[in-house]
């Protein structure tokens, strides 16, 4: 059973040896295909990572995310468009369908043009809000690039992103050098709803705020959002693990800002981190990092003298069982053993309606190898029959959602699995009682038959 699973897992690995785990067809949507020169480094990086890029404009007749009901592309990059809508081929419905069909989207915004309404409604569906009137600009009077935006303060210089919580693995800022900053030129900030599917990647500094340069140039009365509520880049992972990344400034992906020299407010010169950041954001969005895979799941009876068959459909109450799950993590073209981040735990639930057990899964070196880590837990089944699930529910920001459910029945004790009476010392007196009754009865019968003739004589005598 296990080897079979491994075989299929390996087969799968060879089938998708491409750069991304979900495919390499990447669609780049630009207002004008000629604009791709602006992002040549970024797109070149993608191409060099193995993606097959296609370019379309929103208005193009031939643009279609689906072909014959199947996804025509695996990933989409949407660059800002000056149009009010994105046309009939990129309606919010289509984009949502694309996500539901496991397609990944990288969306970029720009403050230079108002955001298309189609994008606004899509974002509204996944609980991301953009500034009113589809226009906004993030400025920060304390963290700007003194070299290029000394007046307008609209090129923000940010420290490389770090993980927002201790238990979340840092995917986006790990490659940053000591003297590198993230430049965020003329971008749009968004606010995120509090859903668990959304995670900010880059949050604005405390002193940043967003305003509408067209209407609020003079007076700023109603701030859309400020400080860390303003997400400059955000990640959204749907339940089916399709990914959607939002980058507030398309410009930060342009060649101009890749490896550019900037000057902080303090006057210090620094290099931009943008190129590495762009690689990492696109890599995350297009399933190159943070992808988890369940290689196999196995559970078996863990009792002495029992045939420990793999994955039986039925157990008995109070059996000892062992559950093992093998996990791999994909990181830039290789699968490696997944190790649970420090401060976090992988847990197994054994549940019927509600969990009866919630146990930590520990690394099982015997079944692990560099490509796959096995986590295991052994426990005694509860004293309750029913249909139970072995459930691993591991949903962490930026990691593929893991929700593995293996259903088993837990039956009651069969009639011959109870301890026999003679095993229970308490029953001995009663066994002796029965034994005494039976022997007494036998003796009685023997005596009775032995005494029969005399008795008969007596009877005859009496009657006479």
């Amino acid at each position: 059973m296990r080897s079979l699973l491994l075989f299929f897992a390996l087969l799968w690995v060879t089938a998708v040896s491409a750069i991304s785990t979900t495919g390499d067809r990447l669609l780049v949507v630009l207002d004008d295909v000629a604009d791709k020169a602006t992002y040549s480094k970024f797109l070149g990086d993608l191409e060099s990572r193995g993606f097959k890029l296609s370019y379309e404009t929103p208005k193009s007749e031939s643009l279609s995310l689906f072909r014959l009901g199947e996804r025509a592309y695996d990933h989409v990059i949407l660059f800002p468009s000056r149009a009010k809508g994105l046309g009939p081929n990129l309606t919010p419905n289509v984009l949502l369908q694309f996500i539901n069909a496991n397609g990944n989207i990288l969306l970029t915004l720009s403050s230079a043009s108002s955001t298309p309404s189609s994008v606004i409604s899509l974002l509204a569906e996944i609980d991301i809000q953009l500034p009113a009137d589809r226009t906004g600009l993030v400025v920060d009077h304390f963290n700007y690039d003194a070299a290029s935006a000394a007046d307008k303060h609209d090129v923000l210089l940010l420290p490389p992103p770090s993980s927002i919580r201790a238990d979340i693995k840092d995917f986006f800022g790990v490659g940053a050098g000591a003297n590198e900053v993230l430049a965020f030129p003329r971008g749009v900030g968004a606010t995120l709803g509090s859903g668990e599917l959304l995670t900010p990647i880059v949050r604005a500094p405390a002193t940043a705020y967003s305003y509408n340069p067209k209407e609020q140039a003079e007076v700023l009365d109603d701030v859309f959002a400020a400080g860390s509520q303003l997400a400059l880049a955000a990640a959204f992972q749907a339940r089916n693990s399709a990914r959607f990344a939002l980058v507030g400034s398309a410009e930060m992906l342009s060649d101009t800002w890749f490896d550019a020299e900037v000057k902080t407010v303090g006057g210090k010169a620094a290099k931009t981190y943008n190129r590495e950041f762009a690689k990492r954001v696109s890599g995350w969005a297009f399933q190159e990092i943070g992808v988890l895979r369940v290689n196999w799941i196995e559970h078996h009876l863990n009792e002495v003298g029992a045939t420990n068959e793999s994955n039986p459909g039925i157990y008995r109450i109070k059996n000892d069982v062992t559950y093992t799950i093998s996990l791999s993590e994909y990181s830039w073209s290789t699968w490696s053993a997944f190790s649970v981040p420090a401060n976090d735990a992988l847990q197994l639930e054994f549940s019927m309606l509600s969990p009866f057990h919630r146990l930590p899964l520990v690394l099982d070196p015997a079944h692990s190898n560099p490509e796959a880590a096995a986590y295991t837990a052994s426990f005694k089944l509860p004293d309750q029959h029913g249909i139970f699930n072995f459930k691993v529910n591991y949903k962490r920001p930026f990691f593929t959602n893991l929700e593995e459910k293996n259903t088993v029945s837990v039956r009651h004790m069969a009639h011959d699995e109870w301890p026999r009476s003679y095993v229970i010392s308490g029953a001995w007196p009663w066994i002796a009682g029965i034994f005494a009754t039976v022997t007494g009865w036998l003796a009685f019968c023997a005596l009775w038959m032995y005494s029969a003739p005399t008795d008969k004589k007596k009877v005859i005598k009496k009657t006479q």
């Binding site: 919010p92 009113a132 919580r165 709803g193 509090s194 599917l197 995670t199 039956r411």
Partner: protein, 748 residues
């Protein structure tokens, strides 16, 4: 009907062997008639398992045949009561399945390959033939008249009260239990009459079989002690009674405890305590009787009686104390409802909701027993006149059975045998008096008077034995009475046939209706829907429906269900009731938690099929209210004026309930705008039908009787279902940001 030629023929062939031969032939004909009249359902429809419970029995039998007895015994059924499962092997009465399994294997051994389904379908008719024979035996114990037994057998064979539960396809516990009931009674009478341990042991063994077959065994458990008690109170204690009763009780109780489902109940529940009490009481009596026989002395005797009475009282008090202290389980709810018919309605809606637990309507007695019901008192009266031990039994049984038949519809079944016996005694008495061709001469009369007088002196028995013999002299009166009786009997046969073919032969899985031209039209929505489930859903797709359909889904669609007709877990049923009667937002988490994949509802509005879920809906509400009184409120489902309506006037809670929405979803589209009509409740539905956010319509059968909905998964991008389906319908989120109130800040 058969008595008349019998008598005539018996007069012709006076030899004993001829009579026996005739009797055997007649009994075989009776058995044939009993079987034949039960085959209407097979002829009208097909060889199919009926109704609800039989589907489970059928499924269990198939499991037994496929997996053998031991795995049947230990069967843990993970396809019902999801996710609790059911310890089926330990919670059913295995007698029925084991019987048909044994028959199946026996036929196999005889190289007769028969489909197990056909055995199951035909088991009830086959046993009805045996029941007729058992009734014959029982009646023969009651009266010396040779015709009474045969008449009783005929009555039993075709009485609708018994046919209602034993037509072909009605593969239920009652199918074999009634035979066992009657036969156990016969053995009991036999044991009592002979005072034989062997008959007592046989009685106990058949009692054990009965316990293995039907929960109604408690009827025997209570009736035999009652009979004994009445006999003792009448001063008819005898050593025969002691032998018969104690042998039966000692062996029968042990036998009943071998059934896993019964287990320790015989020593733990109140239902079984009378039997135990009488058992102890008899020991005392026997001992005292022995002492009394040893020592004469009047004051001693009176003391002994006092002593016995005192012990009985102490025993009773002890029982009461033990019950209140919880050592002995109090009476089960079903038994309370036997004493107080409104008890169940108030306290246990789940029991009250079953139609066969309703009190019997008076016409039902006539419908099920026809003329037997007025012959019955006459027969009981005749028993009173003779009043030997066995006649006391008939009297006690008649009283006991009549009461229970009046309380619960389905206990009509236990009344039927005694009605048949009593009526047969009455009819045979009439025939014995009027079917003698020879008129009694005066000499005869004198001779009889003399013999009567002698008997009187010798016996000095009850008054009734000294009645003068009255002869019938006129042939005209004889002819009139006999022909009237014959006409009655023929009418009875007509009635029985009519009732059987019209009322009791419908499988209820398949419905029949008459078309305008009089031809029969079969409505097969149930099987259509179950077949759809079987072919289009995952093998382990969980189906949520009201419990009525649980067994059928398990049997026909072979899919796991949440609740079924084995209503062992009230909370689980209430959970389903709550899911059905709540708003979608409340129901959805319940369905998710129970891993429901499909929801099945029965809707009769299009066809006018009144047994649908909307009509049962109030029971769901009541049962749910019993567990969650603060979340489900029955009153809220009525209009302010207290009406139960489904049209535009219906209360908002009603309209929001999942059941309502599932029933009427898309129903409007069948009709021109504003014309939607519910034919069961005769209501015009509101113009705009309900919307469903958490369910997708998956299947609707031809006549809309069964509607199946698929439970949606959680929304992929984390919206709630209402928002998601609003988006699907093209309603964009309207400026969520502009909503009033403070914005919710994200914290992380």
């Amino acid at each position: 009907m058969s008595a008349e030629p019998l008598q005539a023929l018996a007069n012709v062939g006076k030899g004993e062997s001829t009579r026996t031969l005739l009797r055997v032939v007649i009994l075989f004909l009776i058995a044939g008639a009993a079987v034949a009249s039960r085959l209407f359902s097979v002829i009208r429809f097909e060889s199919i398992i009926h109704e609800f419970d039989p589907w489970f029995n059928f499924r269990a039998t198939k499991y037994l045949v496929a997996n053998g007895f031991y795995s049947f015994w230990d069967w843990f059924d993970d396809r019902t009561w999801h996710p609790l499962g059911r310890v089926t092997g330990g919670t059913l009465y295995p007698g029925l399945m084991v019987t048909s399994g044994a028959i199946y294997h026996a036929l196999r051994a005889l190289t007769i390959p028969v489909d197990i389904r056909n055995i199951c379908v035909l088991l009830a008719p086959a046993f009805s033939g045996l029941t007729a024979y058992a009734t014959y035996l029982l009646t023969n114990e009651m009266t010396p008249s040779p015709s009474a037994g045969l008449l009783a057998a005929v009555f039993m064979g075709i009485a609708p009260g018994y046919i209602s539960r034993s037509v072909a396809g009605s593969y239920d516990n009652e199918a074999i239990s009634i035979f066992l009931l009657v036969f156990t009674f016969y053995l009991w009478i036999k044991a009592l009459k002979l005072g034989s341990m062997l008959w007592g042991a046989l009685c106990a063994l058949f009692y054990g079989y009965m316990v293995a077959s039907w929960g109604g065994y408690a009827f025997i458990t209570c009736l035999l002690p009652l009979h004994s008690f009445v006999l003792i109170c009448m001063g008819r204690y005898s050593t025969r009674l002691y032998v018969a009763y104690t042998t039966w009780y000692a062996l029968g109780t042990l036998a009943s405890m071998q059934i896993p489902f019964v287990g320790f109940l015989p020593v733990k529940t109140s239902e079984h305590m009378p039997a135990l009490g009488i058992f102890g009481f008899l020991q005392l009596l026997a001992f005292l009787d022995y002492v009394r026989s040893a020592i004469p002395g009047r004051q001693f005797q009176t003391f002994l009686w006092l002593f016995a009475g005192g012990t009985f009282g102490i025993g009773l008090a002890g029982l009461v104390i033990a019950t209140s202290a919880g050592v002995i389980a109090p009476w089960g709810g079903r038994f309370y409802s036997l004493w107080d018919t409104s008890y169940a309605k108030i306290h246990i809606p789940i029991i009250a909701s079953v139609s066969e637990h309703q009190p019997t309507a008076w016409p039902a007695f006539f419908f099920d027993l026809n003329m037997l019901i007025w012959l019955f008192p006459a027969g009981v009266y005749l028993c009173f006149q003779q009043l030997a031990d066995e006649h006391v039994f008939i009297v006690v049984y008649a009283l006991f059975g009549s009461y229970f038949a009046g309380v619960m519809v389905r206990l009509m079944l236990t009344l039927t045998p005694v009605v048949c016996v009593a009526a047969a005694i009455a009819v045979s008495n009439v025939f014995d008096a009027y079917l003698i061709v020879k008129s009694p001469s005066t000499e005869d009369r004198q001779v009889e008077d003399v013999s009567e007088a002698v008997a009187k002196k010798a016996k000095s028995g009850l008054k009734s034995t000294s009645k003068p013999v009255v002869g019938v002299y006129s042939l005209i009166s004889k002819g009139a009475v006999v022909s009237a009786m014959t006409v009655y009997l023929l009418l009875f046969v007509l009635h029985c046939t009519w009732v059987t073919s019209n009322a009791y032969s419908s499988p209820s899985v398949v419905l029949a209706s008459k078309l305008a031209d009089g031809s029969q039209h079969i409505i097969d929505d149930y099987r259509e829907a179950y077949q759809w489930l079987r072919q289009n859903t995952k093998d382990d797709a969980k189906i949520m429906s009201w419990w009525d359909y649980g067994y059928q889904i398990g049997g026909m669609a072979d899919r796991p269900t949440l609740v079924d007709n084995n209503t062992w877990n009230n909370t689980h049923i209430a959970t389903v009731g709550k899911a059905m009667s709540s708003k979608e937002e409340v129901s959805y988490p319940i369905m998710r938690q129970h891993e429901v994949d499909y929801v099945l509802v029965v809707f009769g509005g299009l066809l006018g099929y009144s047994g649908d879920d909307i009509n049962k809906f109030l029971w769901m509400v009541r049962i749910a209210e019993g567990i969650w009184p603060e979340e489900v409120n029955e009153r809220a489902f009525f209009t302010p004026r207290g009406e139960y309506r489904v049209d535009a006037e219906a209360s908002q809670v009603m309209k929001d309930s999942l059941m309502y929405k599932m029933s009427y979803y898309n129903y409007n589209n069948l009709f021109p705008p504003g014309q939607a009509q519910d034919r069961v409740r005769g209501a015009r539905l509101p113009e705009v039908g309900p919307t469903l956010d958490v369910l997708d319509e998956a299947f609707t059968s031809e006549n809309w009787i069964i509607r199946i909905y698929k439970v949606k998964d959680l929304d992929n991008v984390g919206r709630d279902h209402a928002a998601a389906s609003a988006f699907e319908r093209g309603l964009k989120k309207k400026k969520v940001m502009k909503k009033r109130g403070p914005r919710v800040l994200r914290v992380d």
